[in-house]
């Protein structure tokens, strides 16, 4: 009689070893320089340990050793795909301490550029997510086509394509160039169709569904425990979006929805959340262009001819709500003594900035709360007992930016 193949016998007969594998820091799918120490049993991940810190640039320390004016320009580099949001968090924290009221027009401009930045960030994510899933050639280039258009617009207004340094303490850097609003409005008109184009490739593709559905399920409680935020959290069924929960700037005047999935989110839900968010951001931009006080830059420029763009605070065409900057931007930029915290909803989640100022030209202490760091922390839990190929799908779907993790 043949003895039954028990687990013990099997283990003795077919002795297999776990394989220790180093994924990264140089690996095409780790989106920068993340190192994952993986224990693999065949293709299954048995243990995962992310090693972070390869990109540590002491951004917080630099904040204490650079003047406010210098640090504003530096802080875009923390999360290089959404520079507007880091600038915005810093500006809002400083403005809280300073007790500065930002003009309404500047607030609208901030929302417009920030939502544009959210679009560029999500578009890049979509492209790289395609690469992570193995659509090496086709998909990545379609989102990049639209991203290019948005980056051109951002370049026209900020002078830079990635490190904008556009949102400053006390307002925004400058007024939009001629024709800018018209170009943007035209873009927002065609953009929903473009999103449908991406969806036509992915959303119903059987291979894509197989690779994403029920892969990397992030339970609601686990997400909350790890401090996960952003679309990753909302895909797991928690309606936390600072724009809705604690409306800042002019978000309470805008009509938009926050996509929330009502179950424990998998990779597909996280994908879908971001797709819907792009639609909503597009809506927000359109509303802002319609609502912005003073109208588009071209209209305002015509009106300002009457006062030859005097820039005085009491001028009906230049001051009040229509100004874009209330603090002088030069090396003498100061923030009053005090401490303040402000958070914004970045494409990756809640981005917080805590500042202690003594009133000198540098900050006394700066602390950043970066969404990518907390989102990455949950990765080992998600990867357990998944296959090697799923590492990329899951890691791609939480959308981590490594400079944002390491600061």
């Amino acid at each position: 009689m043949v003895p039954e193949m028990t687990e013990e016998l099997r283990a003795n007969k077919l002795k297999t070893d776990e394989m220790l594998i180093n994924m990264g820091p140089q690996h095409p799918a780790t989106h920068g320089v993340l190192r994952l120490i993986l224990k693999l049993d065949g293709e299954l991940v048995k243990h995962c340990e992310p090693v972070v810190g390869h990109l540590h640039r002491a951004q917080e320390w630099q904040g204490q050793n650079r003047t406010w004016f210098q640090y504003q320009a530096l802080i875009d580099r923390v999360d290089y795909l959404s520079g507007m949001f880091t600038s915005w968090a810093l500006a809002r924290a400083a403005e809280k301490i300073d007790d500065v009221k930002v003009p309404l027009r500047a607030e609208y401009m901030r929302v417009i550029v920030a939502e544009m930045n959210r679009l560029t960030s999500h578009l890049l994510w979509l492209g790289t997510f395609g690469i992570d899933l193995g659509a090496m050639m086709g998909l990545p280039f379609y989102p990049f086509r639209e991203r290019e258009e948005l980056l051109d617009l951002l370049e026209a207004i900020a002078g830079q394509r990635m490190m904008f340094n556009y949102i400053r303490i006390g307002g925004v850097q400058n007024e939009a160039p001629p024709g800018w609003f018209a170009r943007l409005f035209k873009f927002t008109g065609s953009f929903p169709d473009r999103i449908d184009e991406y969806e036509a490739i992915l959303s119903n593709n059987p291979i894509f569904l197989k690779r994403t559905k029920a892969v990397g399920i992030l339970p609601r409680k686990l997400a909350i425990d790890y401090g996960v935020t952003g679309p990753t959290l909302r895909a797991s069924g928690v309606a936390l979006d600072l724009r809705k929960v604690k409306p800042y700037s002019v978000y309470d005047r805008l009509d938009f929805a926050v996509p929330v999935c009502n179950r424990d989110g998998d990779t597909y839900d996280r994908y879908m959340c971001r797709i819907i968010e792009m639609h909503e951001s597009n809506k927000i931009i359109r509303q802002c262009i319609e609502q912005i006080p003073g109208g588009t830059a071209d209209v305002l420029r015509e009106k300002r001819k009457a006062c030859s763009a005097c820039g005085k605070a009491n001028c009906p065409h230049c001051g009040g709500d229509l100004a874009i900057m209330v603090k002088k931007q030069n090396a003498g930029l100061r923030v009053k003594a005090g401490e303040g915290f402000a958070a914004v909803e970045s494409p990756r989640g809640v981005l917080g900035c805590y500042i202690i100022s003594t009133g000198s030209d540098t900050a006394y202490r700066i602390k950043w709360r970066n969404p990518s760091f907390s989102n990455l922390a949950v990765l080992p839990e998600l990867l357990l007992d998944h296959q090697i190929a799923d590492i990329m799908a899951i890691f791609g779907s939480i959308d981590v930016i490594l400079p944002d993790v390491d600061r």
């Binding site: 095409p28 193995g134 659509a135 050639m137 086709g138 593709n205 690779r211 090697i388 190929a389």
Partner: protein, 439 residues
């Protein structure tokens, strides 16, 4: 839209240029070795030169393949890059030569001059042998196809095996040995995982591939490429993809069951073709089955550690394999070198013959016209033209797939083969066997 048309025009020009280069060079060299040189030798030294003349003629297929494989790969890589650019609203390589025509030649030169690196701890013998073992089957696999491509031209008849299909299938299962060797010998865990994936994949996809080919052989009743191609002569309806002539036998008076069987047979054969294309994609590691390479997961899989000429050989073999499976499909399913419509083939041949006669007329030996007339045989040109159009269309289709689909996961890949493709292939085998008798 206009720019897309413009780019397509550029692509067509590139293709034309490269086809002229490839087939001009291959045919020119084959002709000089197989016809001109033996003729010269025989006229100079008479009977004593017969041995050398025959030796030269026997060498023709070998030289032709050795020339064809690298040239063809140069074109295929260029075409793929230009097509991918076209599909993804980019320009693609367009700097080296007119419209970037010689980009891949420059790339090949770069790879040849590049330093070869052997990783520490690598098994040197296996590491060096792996690309050779991977590449050799694609060279010997092209051989029997030569006869089918050239319409059984006398120069290539010796390589037309009566069991050519069987031979190619046997040969095509060797490359995976090279992959596993390379992955193991590289002393790299990513390569090892890639190699093991490749082994699993090759085993599971070879079965439905074989079954689909066996079914076509059953339909055609032979294993000989030239015969299979000739059976499909006539028109589109005679092609194996539409049931190998089942539809042409139907007349007004055919019984209803015969009509139904013929239609069913055609449907089965279309499914069979789809099955073959899917399995062939997996066989040659193309997206969505490129798991052994899986650039975003395993960096580059089994060839991660290879550089310089060894990598070039892997690359060469991969594209040659793609060409082989495409040509194979063109012969087995799409009528080989025969035109899709009845009159078209004759029109091609007589048109070309008329053109030659008009341009060069009757010339005495050793004039330009005589040279051209003996070089260009209208029937062979038509054959080669049609089969090449079909093969490259399939290659371009593979590029389109690469530009669209994400990659499967290894367990899904296996599921798909064993739970879907293998049963489907078996069902089709049985269905075709019965339907063929009913028609």
């Amino acid at each position: 839209m206009n720019s897309a048309v413009f780019e397509i025009g550029k692509f067509a020009r590139l293709t034309l240029l490269w086809l002229c280069i490839i087939f001009g060079a291959v045919w020119g060299v084959s002709w000089s070795i197989g016809v001109l040189l033996p003729a010269v030798i025989l006229s100079q030294s008479g009977e004593s030169g017969r041995f050398w003349a025959q030796l030269l003629q026997a060498l023709v297929p070998v030289v032709a393949v050795a020339l064809f494989v690298p040239l063809n790969t140069c074109y295929m890589v260029l075409a793929e890059r230009r097509l991918l650019a076209l599909f993804t609203v980019r320009k693609g390589p367009n700097r080296v030569g007119p419209d970037g025509a010689f980009q891949t030649v420059a790339d090949a030169l770069k790879l040849l001059l590049k330093e070869e690196i052997t990783p520490r701890g690598a098994d040197l013998l296996m590491y060096t042998l792996a690309p050779v073992i991977f590449f050799a089957p694609s060279i010997i696999g092209v051989m029997p196809l030569l006869a089918a491509v050239s319409g059984n031209h006398p120069l290539f008849t010796p390589v037309n095996l009566p069991t050519g299909v069987f031979y190619i299938l046997a040969v095509s299962s060797i490359p995976v040995v090279g992959v596993v060797m390379g992955g193991w010998a590289s002393n790299n865990k990513y390569s090892l995982v890639g190699a093991l994936r490749s082994a699993a994949q090759a085993i599971s996809y070879e079965i439905p591939l074989l079954l689909s080919i066996i079914t076509v052989c059953l339909l055609a009743g032979t294993l000989d490429f030239v015969q299979i191609a000739d059976n499909q002569r006539g028109s589109l309806l005679n092609w194996n993809i539409l049931g190998g002539g089942a539809l042409t036998h139907l007349g007004i008076g055919s019984p209803w069951w015969s009509i139904a069987a013929a239609l069913l047979l055609a449907a089965c054969c279309i499914l069979l073709f789809a099955l073959y294309v899917i399995c062939a994609c997996a066989e040659v590691n193309r997206t969505p089955f490129d798991l052994p390479e899986a650039e975003s997961e395993l960096v580059s899989g089994f060839n991660t550690e290879y550089s310089g000429i060894k990598f070039a050989i892997f690359f060469l073999a991969e594209y040659t394999n793609l060409f082989i499976v495409s040509t194979f499909a063109a012969v087995m399913f799409l009528g080989g070198g025969h035109a899709p419509f009845p009159g078209l083939e004759d029109a091609c041949i007589s048109g070309l013959r008329g053109l030659l006669a008009a341009w060069f007329g009757a010339c005495t030996p050793f004039q330009l016209g005589w040279l051209v007339n003996s070089l260009v045989n209208p029937a062979t040109v038509s054959q080669v033209f049609w089969i090449i159009v079909k093969s490259y269309a399939l290659v371009w289709f593979a590029s389109l797939i690469r530009a669209t689909l994400p990659r499967l996961r290894i367990d899904q890949l296996m599921d798909y083969s064993w739970k879907r493709l293998v049963p489907l292939a078996l069902i089709l085998l049985i269905a075709v066997t019965f339907l063929k008798e009913l028609v």
